[in-house]
Amino acid sequence: MDLMIDVKKEKGYTLISVNGEIDLYNAKELKDRVGYVCDDSPDGGDLIIDFKDVDYIDSTGLGIMIGIKRRIAESNGGLVLVLHSDRINKLFDITGLKNIFTITRSVDDAVAALKKG
């Protein structure tokens, strides 16, 4: 099961859906793909990253999410993560990353969160 990354430009935001296990092996791939999206987006472009079928993420993956957050904040964009599984939520919780990110359980909620700002 390799990482599958799907990018969709929607009205007002870009939706990146991720499937697979995010680890040291493929975290760079995720970083690069999201990087391209940021390069292509205007300043202030919003991003939703949907951890659709991600059942594993390691510290490398978490580290990359921090980098993405920083980059988007610099360009005044918004970032919302959609975490479906309890496991992944737990990992964001115990690392304290829950307090840094806006996290929702569904894409609809993520869109709503972006609108609120």
């Binding site: 296990e21 680890d23 040291l24 092996y25 390691d58 496991r87 115990i94 690392t95």
Partner: protein, 139 residues
């Protein structure tokens, strides 16, 4: 090593390359599932062991590295024990090691939070050994 420990000992060696991490996770979660333990705890072990392997791979591997990581799993008393060992930090000094330790903060944090006991040894030109234990449900 006691007889009961030997009777439960599973060892695996992989090249120091990230493409083999998934294989280790499969092995470790399959191993842990054999004991009285919740699915959530099995997942915790999976993350912790994989993070320890990350440390080994990131700290010391060059492109065409021929070294291996050795992972041992065994049952001892009412605990499962996982030992992750790698041989060399390729001439890194004590200072470098300290720095590495810092960088790996998130990984070590996960390991320490997810396991019940953790013991790690890093040494210049020596390699690293991380031993971690998880308590089993009492019968």
């Amino acid at each position: 090593m006691s007889r009961s420990t030997k009777n439960s000992l599973v060892e695996v060696r992989i090249p120091k390359k990230p493409e083999f991490l998934r294989v280790v996770r499969l092995l470790v979660s399959g191993y842990a599932s054999r004991w009285p333990i919740s699915i959530d705890e099995v997942e915790n072990i999976k993350v912790a062991v994989s993070e320890a392997c990350n440390t080994a791979i990131q700290d010391s591997c060059e492109e065409e590295c021929e070294e291996q990581i050795a992972i041992k799993c065994w049952h001892e008393g009412n605990q499962l024990v996982f030992e992750i060992k790698d041989k060399s930090h390729k001439g890194k000094s004590q200072d470098d090691i300290g720095e590495l330790h810092e960088e790996r903060g998130l990984g070590m944090l996960l390991i320490k939070t997810l396991m019940d006991e953790v013991d790690s040894k890093f040494g210049p030109n020596k390699g690293a050994k991380i031993t971690m234990k998880k308590n089993l449900r009492s019968a």
